[in-house]
Protein backbone atom coordinates (compact mmCIF):
# COMPACT_ATOMS: atom_id res chain seq x y z
CA UNK A 1 0.00 0.00 0.00
CA UNK A 2 3.03 2.25 0.14
CA UNK A 3 2.46 4.04 3.39
CA UNK A 4 1.66 3.23 6.97
CA UNK A 5 1.70 4.67 10.47
CA UNK A 6 5.26 3.43 10.98
CA UNK A 7 6.86 6.32 12.94
CA UNK A 8 9.17 7.13 9.99
CA UNK A 9 6.49 6.97 7.30
CA UNK A 10 5.42 10.34 5.87
CA UNK A 11 1.89 11.40 5.14
CA UNK A 12 0.24 14.71 4.29
CA UNK A 13 -3.18 15.92 5.46
CA UNK A 14 -2.72 19.57 4.44
CA UNK A 15 -5.00 19.35 1.39
CA UNK A 16 -7.47 16.88 2.90
CA UNK A 17 -10.94 18.33 3.46
CA UNK A 18 -12.19 16.86 6.73
CA UNK A 19 -15.66 17.16 8.27
CA UNK A 20 -15.79 16.83 12.06
CA UNK A 21 -19.16 16.19 13.71
CA UNK A 22 -19.00 16.40 17.51
CA UNK A 23 -21.60 18.10 19.69
CA UNK A 24 -19.52 18.77 22.82
CA UNK A 25 -17.09 21.72 22.67
CA UNK A 26 -14.31 19.89 24.50
CA UNK A 27 -14.83 16.77 22.40
CA UNK A 28 -14.44 18.97 19.31
CA UNK A 29 -11.29 20.55 20.77
CA UNK A 30 -9.81 17.07 21.27
CA UNK A 31 -10.50 16.17 17.63
CA UNK A 32 -9.10 19.47 16.38
CA UNK A 33 -5.91 19.16 18.44
CA UNK A 34 -5.33 15.65 17.14
CA UNK A 35 -5.93 16.61 13.48
CA UNK A 36 -3.98 19.86 13.69
CA UNK A 37 -1.14 17.82 15.17
CA UNK A 38 -1.34 15.57 12.11
CA UNK A 39 -1.07 18.62 9.86
CA UNK A 40 -4.76 18.81 8.94
CA UNK A 41 -5.74 22.35 7.91
CA UNK A 42 -9.07 22.05 6.10
CA UNK A 43 -11.30 21.19 9.04
CA UNK A 44 -15.06 21.75 8.82
CA UNK A 45 -16.32 21.81 12.41
CA UNK A 46 -19.96 20.84 12.93
CA UNK A 47 -21.73 20.70 16.28
CA UNK A 48 -25.02 19.43 14.88
CA UNK A 49 -26.31 17.03 12.26
CA UNK A 50 -28.07 19.91 10.47
CA UNK A 51 -24.77 21.78 10.08
CA UNK A 52 -22.99 18.61 8.95
CA UNK A 53 -25.65 17.99 6.30
CA UNK A 54 -25.32 21.56 5.09
CA UNK A 55 -21.51 21.27 4.79
CA UNK A 56 -21.83 17.90 3.05
CA UNK A 57 -24.13 19.46 0.45
CA UNK A 58 -21.85 22.45 -0.23
CA UNK A 59 -18.30 21.18 0.19
CA UNK A 60 -16.27 18.37 -1.32
CA UNK A 61 -15.12 16.16 1.55
CA UNK A 62 -12.25 13.67 1.60
CA UNK A 63 -12.74 12.29 5.12
CA UNK A 64 -15.44 12.49 7.79
CA UNK A 65 -14.97 11.91 11.51
CA UNK A 66 -18.42 11.61 13.02
CA UNK A 67 -19.39 11.13 16.64
CA UNK A 68 -22.33 8.78 17.20
CA UNK A 69 -23.69 11.24 19.82
CA UNK A 70 -25.92 10.26 22.74
CA UNK A 71 -29.01 10.84 20.59
CA UNK A 72 -27.71 8.51 17.87
CA UNK A 73 -27.68 11.45 15.45
CA UNK A 74 -24.24 10.48 14.16
CA UNK A 75 -25.52 7.13 12.88
CA UNK A 76 -28.43 8.89 11.19
CA UNK A 77 -26.08 11.40 9.55
CA UNK A 78 -23.86 8.66 8.08
CA UNK A 79 -26.91 6.77 6.86
CA UNK A 80 -28.24 9.99 5.28
CA UNK A 81 -24.89 10.74 3.64
CA UNK A 82 -24.58 7.26 2.12
CA UNK A 83 -28.07 7.47 0.68
CA UNK A 84 -27.85 11.16 -0.33
CA UNK A 85 -26.44 10.65 -3.81
CA UNK A 86 -24.11 13.63 -3.18
CA UNK A 87 -20.98 12.65 -5.11
CA UNK A 88 -18.22 12.16 -4.23
CA UNK A 89 -19.11 12.78 -0.57
CA UNK A 90 -21.46 9.81 -0.35
CA UNK A 91 -18.44 7.52 -0.96
CA UNK A 92 -16.02 9.35 1.35
CA UNK A 93 -14.32 7.43 4.15
CA UNK A 94 -16.15 7.82 7.47
CA UNK A 95 -14.67 7.15 10.91
CA UNK A 96 -17.46 6.89 13.46
CA UNK A 97 -16.49 7.59 17.06
CA UNK A 98 -18.64 6.36 19.92
CA UNK A 99 -18.37 7.06 23.62
CA UNK A 100 -20.65 4.25 24.68
CA UNK A 101 -22.68 2.12 22.34
CA UNK A 102 -25.97 1.32 24.05
CA UNK A 103 -27.42 -2.10 23.37
CA UNK A 104 -30.22 -0.51 21.36
CA UNK A 105 -27.76 1.15 18.95
CA UNK A 106 -25.47 -1.76 18.12
CA UNK A 107 -27.32 -2.52 14.88
CA UNK A 108 -27.19 1.15 13.85
CA UNK A 109 -23.47 1.27 14.53
CA UNK A 110 -22.93 -1.78 12.35
CA UNK A 111 -25.25 -0.85 9.51
CA UNK A 112 -25.05 2.94 9.13
CA UNK A 113 -22.31 2.72 6.49
CA UNK A 114 -19.22 3.93 8.35
CA UNK A 115 -15.86 2.41 7.43
CA UNK A 116 -14.75 2.03 11.05
CA UNK A 117 -16.31 2.48 14.46
CA UNK A 118 -13.83 3.76 17.06
CA UNK A 119 -14.53 3.56 20.76
CA UNK A 120 -13.60 6.62 22.80
CA UNK A 121 -11.29 7.63 24.40
CA UNK A 122 -9.49 8.57 21.20
CA UNK A 123 -5.72 8.49 21.06
CA UNK A 124 -3.57 10.07 18.33
CA UNK A 125 -1.96 6.74 17.46
CA UNK A 126 -5.30 4.93 17.09
CA UNK A 127 -6.73 7.81 15.04
CA UNK A 128 -3.75 7.91 12.68
CA UNK A 129 -3.81 4.14 12.19
CA UNK A 130 -7.42 4.35 11.14
CA UNK A 131 -7.04 7.36 8.84
CA UNK A 132 -4.25 5.58 7.03
CA UNK A 133 -6.30 2.41 6.86
CA UNK A 134 -9.34 4.08 5.28
CA UNK A 135 -7.10 6.00 2.85
CA UNK A 136 -6.09 2.79 1.14
CA UNK A 137 -7.54 2.69 -2.32
CA UNK A 138 -9.50 -0.10 -3.92
CA UNK A 139 -12.10 -0.46 -1.18
CA UNK A 140 -15.32 -1.92 -2.57
CA UNK A 141 -18.61 -0.14 -2.03
CA UNK A 142 -22.06 -1.70 -1.88
CA UNK A 143 -25.29 -0.01 -2.88
CA UNK A 144 -28.41 -2.06 -2.26
CA UNK A 145 -31.93 -1.55 -0.96
CA UNK A 146 -30.87 -2.47 2.55
CA UNK A 147 -27.35 -1.13 2.85
CA UNK A 148 -25.18 1.57 1.32
CA UNK A 149 -21.58 1.68 2.45
CA UNK A 150 -18.21 -0.02 2.31
CA UNK A 151 -18.33 -3.72 1.53
CA UNK A 152 -18.37 -5.56 4.85
CA UNK A 153 -17.25 -8.82 3.34
CA UNK A 154 -13.72 -7.93 2.28
CA UNK A 155 -10.81 -9.93 3.61
CA UNK A 156 -8.17 -7.36 4.23
CA UNK A 157 -5.75 -7.12 7.11
CA UNK A 158 -4.53 -4.02 8.86
CA UNK A 159 -6.13 -1.95 11.55
CA UNK A 160 -7.09 -2.42 14.21
CA UNK A 161 -5.13 -5.27 15.76
CA UNK A 162 -2.74 -4.50 18.61
CA UNK A 163 -3.40 -0.81 18.61
CA UNK A 164 -3.53 -0.36 22.32
CA UNK A 165 -5.11 -1.58 25.48
CA UNK A 166 -8.55 -1.13 26.96
CA UNK A 167 -11.49 -0.09 24.85
CA UNK A 168 -9.46 -0.05 21.65
CA UNK A 169 -10.11 -3.79 21.57
CA UNK A 170 -13.81 -3.03 21.13
CA UNK A 171 -13.21 -0.98 18.01
CA UNK A 172 -14.98 -2.56 15.10
CA UNK A 173 -13.85 -2.62 11.53
CA UNK A 174 -16.79 -2.57 9.20
CA UNK A 175 -15.95 -5.45 6.97
CA UNK A 176 -15.11 -8.22 9.35
CA UNK A 177 -18.69 -9.04 10.17
Amino acid sequence: MGFSSDPRARFNLEQVSILLLEETPLGMSILVQILNGFGGRKLHRCDSVAKAESIARETELDLLIVDAMASGGGYDFVHWLRNSGIRPNCYAPVLLTAAHTPAAAVTNARDCGAHIVMAKPLTPKAMLDRIIWVARTGRRFVESDKFVGPDRRFKEGGVPEKVGAGRRREDAVQGKG
Partner: protein, 157 residues
Amino acid sequence: MSESSKIHVPDVPLGRLIRMPGGKTAGQAIADAEKGLASLQGESMKELNRVLAKAEALYARADGRFDALVVNAFYALINGAIGLPTAGKDRAIDTMLVSLADLLDYYRTSGDWGDKSVQVHLSTFQLLLRTEGVRDPQGTELILAGLRKVSRKAAKG
Protein backbone atom coordinates in the same frame (compact mmCIF):
# COMPACT_ATOMS: atom_id res chain seq x y z
CA MET B 1 -26.85 -9.95 -1.33
CA SER B 2 -29.96 -9.14 -3.34
CA GLU B 3 -29.89 -9.01 -7.16
CA SER B 4 -30.39 -5.22 -7.06
CA SER B 5 -27.06 -4.71 -5.29
CA LYS B 6 -24.38 -2.74 -7.03
CA ILE B 7 -20.76 -3.24 -6.01
CA HIS B 8 -18.11 -0.87 -7.31
CA VAL B 9 -14.83 0.73 -6.34
CA PRO B 10 -15.31 4.50 -6.03
CA ASP B 11 -12.46 6.94 -6.45
CA VAL B 12 -11.14 7.91 -3.00
CA PRO B 13 -9.13 11.16 -3.26
CA LEU B 14 -7.90 10.73 0.32
CA GLY B 15 -5.51 8.01 -0.85
CA ARG B 16 -3.85 10.40 -3.32
CA LEU B 17 -3.88 13.52 -1.13
CA ILE B 18 -2.27 11.80 1.82
CA ARG B 19 0.68 10.81 -0.37
CA MET B 20 1.40 14.34 -1.60
CA PRO B 21 4.93 15.69 -1.00
CA GLY B 22 5.53 17.42 2.32
CA GLY B 23 3.56 16.55 5.40
CA LYS B 24 4.98 14.92 8.52
CA THR B 25 6.33 11.64 9.70
CA ALA B 26 3.84 9.58 11.68
CA GLY B 27 6.06 9.85 14.75
CA GLN B 28 6.15 13.65 14.56
CA ALA B 29 2.42 13.84 13.86
CA ILE B 30 1.58 11.76 16.92
CA ALA B 31 3.97 13.77 19.11
CA ASP B 32 2.42 17.06 17.87
CA ALA B 33 -1.10 15.75 18.47
CA GLU B 34 -0.20 14.68 22.02
CA LYS B 35 1.28 18.09 22.67
CA GLY B 36 -1.97 19.68 21.49
CA LEU B 37 -4.02 17.40 23.74
CA ALA B 38 -1.84 18.30 26.72
CA SER B 39 -2.83 21.94 26.22
CA LEU B 40 -6.43 20.92 26.97
CA GLN B 41 -5.63 19.30 30.32
CA GLY B 42 -6.81 22.19 32.50
CA GLU B 43 -10.03 22.60 30.52
CA SER B 44 -10.61 18.85 30.70
CA MET B 45 -10.31 18.76 34.50
CA LYS B 46 -12.65 21.74 34.89
CA GLU B 47 -15.23 20.06 32.65
CA LEU B 48 -14.96 16.78 34.56
CA ASN B 49 -15.59 18.62 37.83
CA ARG B 50 -18.71 20.14 36.24
CA VAL B 51 -19.82 16.69 35.08
CA LEU B 52 -19.35 15.29 38.59
CA ALA B 53 -21.43 18.09 40.12
CA LYS B 54 -24.25 17.48 37.60
CA ALA B 55 -24.03 13.70 38.16
CA GLU B 56 -24.34 14.14 41.91
CA ALA B 57 -27.36 16.39 41.43
CA LEU B 58 -29.03 13.77 39.20
CA TYR B 59 -28.25 11.04 41.71
CA ALA B 60 -29.90 13.12 44.43
CA ARG B 61 -32.93 13.70 42.18
CA ALA B 62 -33.34 9.95 41.65
CA ASP B 63 -33.77 9.66 45.43
CA GLY B 64 -33.15 5.93 45.48
CA ARG B 65 -35.74 5.05 42.82
CA PHE B 66 -35.86 4.47 39.08
CA ASP B 67 -36.91 7.63 37.26
CA ALA B 68 -36.76 7.37 33.46
CA LEU B 69 -36.15 11.09 32.90
CA VAL B 70 -33.34 11.19 35.45
CA VAL B 71 -31.69 8.00 34.21
CA ASN B 72 -31.77 9.13 30.58
CA ALA B 73 -30.31 12.52 31.49
CA PHE B 74 -27.69 10.83 33.67
CA TYR B 75 -26.73 8.44 30.85
CA ALA B 76 -26.47 11.30 28.33
CA LEU B 77 -24.26 13.26 30.74
CA ILE B 78 -21.85 10.38 31.34
CA ASN B 79 -21.86 9.30 27.68
CA GLY B 80 -20.86 12.84 26.69
CA ALA B 81 -18.00 12.86 29.17
CA ILE B 82 -16.32 9.65 27.96
CA GLY B 83 -13.13 10.55 26.17
CA LEU B 84 -12.73 13.98 27.82
CA PRO B 85 -10.20 12.72 30.38
CA THR B 86 -7.99 11.69 27.45
CA ALA B 87 -6.99 15.33 27.12
CA GLY B 88 -5.50 15.00 30.59
CA LYS B 89 -4.17 11.53 29.79
CA ASP B 90 -6.34 10.18 32.56
CA ARG B 91 -7.46 6.76 31.40
CA ALA B 92 -8.61 5.76 34.90
CA ILE B 93 -11.42 8.33 34.85
CA ASP B 94 -12.41 7.18 31.36
CA THR B 95 -12.56 3.57 32.57
CA MET B 96 -14.80 4.65 35.46
CA LEU B 97 -17.06 6.62 33.08
CA VAL B 98 -17.44 3.64 30.73
CA SER B 99 -18.36 1.40 33.67
CA LEU B 100 -20.95 3.94 34.87
CA ALA B 101 -22.36 4.30 31.34
CA ASP B 102 -22.72 0.50 31.12
CA LEU B 103 -24.59 0.54 34.42
CA LEU B 104 -26.90 3.43 33.49
CA ASP B 105 -27.61 1.94 30.06
CA TYR B 106 -28.71 -1.25 31.80
CA TYR B 107 -30.94 0.67 34.23
CA ARG B 108 -32.59 2.80 31.55
CA THR B 109 -33.49 -0.27 29.50
CA SER B 110 -34.48 -2.54 32.40
CA GLY B 111 -36.27 0.00 34.60
CA ASP B 112 -34.18 -1.10 37.60
CA TRP B 113 -32.16 1.18 39.85
CA GLY B 114 -29.22 0.20 42.05
CA ASP B 115 -28.55 3.07 44.38
CA LYS B 116 -25.37 1.66 45.89
CA SER B 117 -23.89 0.72 42.51
CA VAL B 118 -24.31 4.28 41.25
CA GLN B 119 -23.06 5.73 44.53
CA VAL B 120 -19.84 3.71 44.43
CA HIS B 121 -19.13 4.98 40.93
CA LEU B 122 -19.67 8.59 41.97
CA SER B 123 -17.46 8.14 45.05
CA THR B 124 -14.75 6.76 42.78
CA PHE B 125 -15.24 9.67 40.36
CA GLN B 126 -14.64 12.10 43.27
CA LEU B 127 -11.61 10.16 44.46
CA LEU B 128 -10.03 10.00 41.00
CA LEU B 129 -10.48 13.73 40.45
CA ARG B 130 -9.02 14.59 43.84
CA THR B 131 -6.00 12.31 43.42
CA GLU B 132 -5.27 13.22 39.78
CA GLY B 133 -1.53 13.01 39.22
CA VAL B 134 -0.69 11.42 42.60
CA ARG B 135 -2.40 8.06 42.35
CA ASP B 136 -0.94 4.64 43.07
CA PRO B 137 -1.40 2.78 39.73
CA GLN B 138 -1.90 -0.64 41.31
CA GLY B 139 -4.45 0.63 43.83
CA THR B 140 -6.28 2.50 41.08
CA GLU B 141 -6.43 -0.61 38.92
CA LEU B 142 -7.91 -2.62 41.81
CA ILE B 143 -10.60 0.04 42.35
CA LEU B 144 -11.46 0.08 38.63
CA ALA B 145 -11.61 -3.73 38.50
CA GLY B 146 -14.06 -3.56 41.41
CA LEU B 147 -16.23 -1.06 39.56
CA ARG B 148 -16.34 -3.20 36.45
CA LYS B 149 -17.52 -6.12 38.63
CA VAL B 150 -20.28 -3.92 40.05
CA SER B 151 -21.60 -2.91 36.61
CA ARG B 152 -21.36 -6.46 35.24
CA LYS B 153 -23.13 -7.91 38.27
CA ALA B 154 -25.92 -5.35 37.95
CA ALA B 155 -26.38 -6.15 34.26
CA LYS B 156 -26.68 -9.86 35.03
CA GLY B 157 -29.39 -9.12 37.60
